[in-house]
């Protein structure tokens, strides 16, 4: 039984980790907690659905189309709204992302909200890949874990081994110095939003088959992902991944051994405890602000 729990924890954890990564990429780049992330992912998932089921594209093309759409959505969000903010402060940015979240939620509900959809991917959650007497691994489980690992590896390569990643890191560390060295920091910020939107969209495509495809499907995963990001320390990418996996593990163990009813809020109890001890999360350095 415990091994099955571990598998479930790993699947939930990798989805949380993906969402947490998408929050963290934006937070590292701009110190904005992007509450619109979930709705952006939801919107991209609907695009996948349309490409797959209505237009009948093959899965890989549909996925590629979704990723392009997600990148444009993130980039345009930054370009149209975030960049125009007057006297920007943290609260203002939070309000803009909340407003964008509402707009996307309303649009999706307006267009698609009224009907129930069945979202079928080539990897279904009822087909079993691997089975022993104690563990059942479905196609969807396997796909979640593999996709999450692929995304993480891709992000690692992008950030550590390309000029774009170098430019992103430079503008995160010091915007002004990066600008002096000829990095187009505004465009880099837009690209960061786009990349984070792509990571979120992949999480959305993985969430849709196990929940229902409707406009509020990402609320719960987003909050868990955000909690995971806070748990790991919003600014440390490896910390965020560990936070996601940890959250999936604790949640599943709690749900099995203690109480299934309160499983959904255990995440917040954990982060309150962790933040009480380490105010910047587990893996982030806590900077004491100087005057």
């Amino acid at each position: 039984m415990i091994s099955q729990l571990l598998v479930n924890a790993l699947v939930a954890g990798s989805i949380y980790a993906l969402i947490a990564l998408s929050m963290s990429i934006i937070y590292k780049a701009s110190e904005i907690p992007n509450f619109a992330q979930g709705e952006m992912a939801m919107f991209s998932t609907y695009i996948t659905f349309i490409l797959l089921s209505v237009l009948g594209w093959p899965f890989l093309y549909a996925l590629a189309g979704t990723l392009v759409f997600a990148f444009c959505l993130g980039f345009l969000f930054e370009f149209i709204f975030i960049r125009r903010a007057k006297e920007p402060n943290l609260l203002g940015f939070i309000i803009i992302t909340l407003g964008f979240q509402m707009v996307l939620y309303g649009l999706a509900g307006w267009k698609w909200g009224s009907d129930q959809r069945t979202f079928s991917l080539p990897f279904s959650e009822s087909e079993v890949v691997f089975q022993t007497e104690s563990v059942v691994l479905t196609e969807h489980n396997l796909a979640s874990i593999v996709l999450a690992i692929l995304v993480m590896a891709g992000l690692y390569l992008l950030l550590e081994h390309t000029n774009l990643g170098l430019a992103m890191k430079a503008s995160q560390q010091n915007v002004r110095a990066a600008k002096f060295n000829g990095i187009p920091t505004n465009r880099i910020l837009g690209i960061s939003f786009g990349i984070s939107s792509i990571v979120g969209a992949i999480a959305g495509v993985l969430v849709a088959p196990i929940s229902t495809l409707d406009p509020s499907m990402m609320w719960d995963p987003l909050l868990k992902g955000f909690a995971a990001a806070v748990l790991g320390g919003m600014k440390s990418l490896h910390g965020v991944v560990i936070g996601g996996l940890l959250l999936g593990l604790v949640e599943n163990l709690f749900g099995f051994y203690i109480s299934l009813e309160f499983k959904s809020i255990v995440a917040f109890a954990i982060i309150m405890l962790v933040l009480f001890i380490k105010p910047s999360g587990l893996f982030d350095k806590h900077y004491v602000r100087k005057v």
Partner: protein
Amino acid sequence: MKLKRGYFEDIRIFRNRASRFWTFLFILVLALLPFFIKAYYLSVINLMALNVIVALGLNVLVGNTGQISLGHAGFVAIGAYSGALLMQLGLPFVPALLLAALLTALIGAFLGIPSLRLEGPYLSIVTLGFGLAVMVIIGRMDVFGGRTGMSVPKLKLGWTGLPYDTALYYVFTITTVVLVIITIILLKSRIGRAFQAIRDSDIAASVIGINVSHYKTFSFAISAFYAGIAGCLWGLYLQFVTPGTFSFMMSIIFLATIVLGGLGSVTGSVLGAIVMTYLGLQLENIVGVPVLGDVIVAFSDSLMNTSGIANIKWVLTGLILIGVILFEPMGLNGLWLRVKRYWRLWPF
């Protein structure tokens, strides 16, 4: 321009005779209103009053102290449920209201304790989690009726000799006016100044001798107190409360209200709550608006989906939120100040 010459001139409530006159006229109009308008509009005003109370409290926390709360619906829920429970146990209205609000304030102070070390996104996620946790916990408790909710007893207002709706209107309006006055006094006092000092720079505030942790916790408690009162009245307004009423979206709408009205100003809270409530009710039946409604229906038919048309409310609310931040960061209050300044020297 007339300068202020002393401290008492700075802290008094009415700046001059004119503002006193208009204030009393406004209160008189509020008092006589039930005799002239229909019961439906009374209930709209009641809803506005509820939103004004929450907005006042939230604005003290967000606008004046600079903390962020994304879980205010949780406080309103605690107020609503505890007030309903106390009244079901047979407590009279006023003690029940005050007890429910004090209980909410106590919980608010507890939530304020983590806020001492957290800032920005970390605080927002903690308050957000709090708002969700409250609803999950209340939804599991049998004493509150679980997921189906619980009914709230009606007030015994027969002795006033008025119809129930009118009497309820007076209860709501009097509470709101009292709370507005208390907020104005509070913000002009030492406490309000301390809040603003903490918002502008908490390090500087602690250097000049303000006990930052004390005042931050206090700000959370005050904000929760207002939400508790509003919650208790909300129960009376709906007569039946369910956990689903106090959702995450409700918290966002509260935040939207004060952003639309103007952060850190009492006028802003009142204006924002009135406009937001009115907009919320109007956007529900936007199809009924003469020309615009037809355009929207035609648009929905061709591009969108007619059955999901109610969702246009979210789109417009979101656009309003973004628009306020992009074009008028001080909200309706800022707009009002600019209009006033423009007309002060008008025809010259």
